[in-house]
Symmetry: C2
Subunit: 374 residues, 2 copies
């Protein structure tokens, strides 16, 4: 029976309790999203050092953490500014004093126009990426409403087949339209991800734009899997990365980070052991998410650090079933585990607060200020 | 070029604007989670009528909506109480005046003990489901701390292979332990989902418990797919359903509802049309989620009501790519669409607020009070 495996749930290890009486991360009830600040800073530094070495500007994507505190750390480390995916994220970061923001999203409609205008009044350098005329017209209207100039980047396709113009001629048409307005500046090109198509599009665009006597000051690309090869792509001036501040199982899978470089862990408790090999932990799809991981990077819905051979075989909303059959040992009911999520960005977006620590000592519990902000 | 398809984004139809000047749902900026209150009430009524006809108590699971307003509607319609999956959900519902709450989750640890004790002092009828001794001991400790009696149900396995004791003997051991305490009452058995194994386990348990002279007042099962066949399962006294208040594409797939009975829609806007057949909408995995749908119930990450042949082929965090190639018509940039999510419960959990309407006229925008509450 499961009961025979039961043990008290009190933390058996108190990483942070070195006699100072400071709170330990293991005092935080589960499920909890726990972030290693030392590792975060090392990850920020590693990226910035790489980009500096290659003369590429860094513009980290804050969709991953949604925390003004970390955005400021990124800027202080040398980033030129930040990237956001929604107006709501931009509003939170602007209110927190971030002064250079790129919104990589087509904005449409009267309400977003008004919100963008308000942002333009408060953010010293504000840019928006567009791939169609209606989205460009929103930026022009917002600039006019605010009596400010907003920067525009034209998004182009480079292998994702998501959005972005397909041909340099389309980018030129939008650039020309932008240049006719006093309320926007054409600041360059933007794409996601960063692959072989990026350089060829940029080269073709440069030829075309030169003929039209239009400068392309910025070429912004992004993506974690390709981040350490950004310097191989001819013509980039700026790189946007989200995940690398925390890293996740996907980062490890693609080889852009190691498990030691993963800064965010979901702390969970084994709440049931109906069979010796089948455990249940107290974090399901409402924390770990169903975000897919290519099977070549690992099985299941997250990586359990204490039982690396364990497989999180299925998720319910608040439960996950874990198969421990391949493990040398078995957990006990009440045991605390740490899970590296498959994809870290949506995990941040599911919790109202995260716990920041150094070497297991809690530094702060902070609100995920831009969580759910659209 | 995409621009040629562009149209102004102002709502072309104002469902709710009948000359009264009342706000229409189409005035709400996208992405937005929009709920049809008339449909919600019809869904509540339909379930309660069915359960009443068969003498089964209804105890809806509020994980789906997380709104005190709707929990009260469910109780007013005849539910004996509500089901929650987390202590945090219970705390929100208790604060909102719900007086009969079942927590279907093993609770472990000192912090949860204290929170459960506080709940026991304020909720007239509080029950907790357990499947192991440590979880039972938490309930006993909380009852003792609060000097109140908390009801206990023993969770058993009935086909889900998630948690629950495997054998009636294990349930009896826990029931006997519960009966030794003055701070808990053994109130019966609980399982999820409700399948053929449910009745056989219950029958075997009844024989065993009768021998031990222990009554089983409550046998609680749950699940949306099986809901209209609950009366066929011998021995049930109570049924728990979450999804049926809203329904979703999965409900339609399993045949427990029609698309007309889906009360929650994600309103989105087409923000990009890089190719005639490929559109991008402004709701990605951070609204629609990656929750899987068996392929026999449909392709892709949601059902687009205006373009039923469209397939939401891929998700990013804030974008979804839609293949319109099978559709007779194509949308324009700026067009507003309604998506029925594959699984509705995690959608509620991703937004801070939802919009309630009747016939397209907005009644209220309400905070999803129990969102993210663990």
């Amino acid at each position: 029976m499961a009961e025979q495996r039961s043990v008290p749930v009190k933390p058996s290890t108190r990483d942070g309790d070195d006699g100072t009486g400071l709170p330990s991360v293991t005092d935080i009830d589960t499920p909890a999203v726990i972030i290693d600040l030392d590792r975060v800073e090392a990850n920020i530094e590693k990226l910035q050092t790489y980009l500096d070495a290659h003369g590429i500007a860094g513009r980290p994507h804050i969709k991953t953490h949604k925390l003004p505190l970390l955005a400021h750390k990124q800027v202080k480390a040398g980033a030129v500014g930040i990237t956001v995916q929604t107006l709501g994220e931009a509003e939170v970061m602007a209110a927190a004093g971030i002064e250079d923001i790129l919104i990589t999203y087509n904005l449409l409609g009267e309400q977003k126009t008004r919100r963008l205008a308000a942002l333009a009044r408060t953010v010293p350098r504000l840019r928006v990426a567009v791939d169609n005329q209606l989205a460009l017209d929103t930026v022009i209207a917002a600039g006019s409403m605010a009596d400010r100039t907003i920067g525009v980047l034209v998004e182009f396709e480079s292998g994702k087949k998501r959005q972005g113009v397909l041909e340099p001629e389309q980018a030129l048409t939008l650039a020309k339209r932008a240049k006719k307005s006093n309320f926007v500046t054409f600041d360059g090109l933007m794409t996601y991800p960063c692959g072989p198509q990026t350089a060829s599009f940029v080269a073709a665009a440069r030829r075309l734009f030169t003929e039209a006597k239009i400068d392309i000051p910025v070429v912004s690309a992004g993506g974690t899997p390709e981040m350490w090869r950004a310097h191989e792509v001819e013509g980039l001036t700026e790189y946007r990365v989200g995940t690398s501040i925390y890293n996740d199982r996907h980062s490890v899978g693609v080889g852009s980070a190691s498990f030691d470089e993963c800064a965010l862990h979901v702390h969970v408790t084994v709440v049931s052991l109906p069979e010796p090999d089948r455990g249940v932990i107290d974090a399901g799809s409402k924390v770990l998410t169903y975000d897919p991981l290519p099977p070549r990077y690992g099985q299941g819905h997250g990586h359990v650090l204490e039982y690396p051979e364990a497989v999180i075989t299925s998720l319910s909303e608040e439960h996950a079933v874990v198969d421990f059959s391949a493990c040398a040992e078995r957990p006990r009911i009440g045991e605390r585990l740490r899970v590296v999520p498959n994809h870290v960005c949506p995990v941040s977006n599911l919790v109202d607060e995260v716990v920041l620590h150094r070497s297991g000592v809690v530094e702060a519990t902070v609100e995920v200020a831009a969580r759910g902000k659209r």
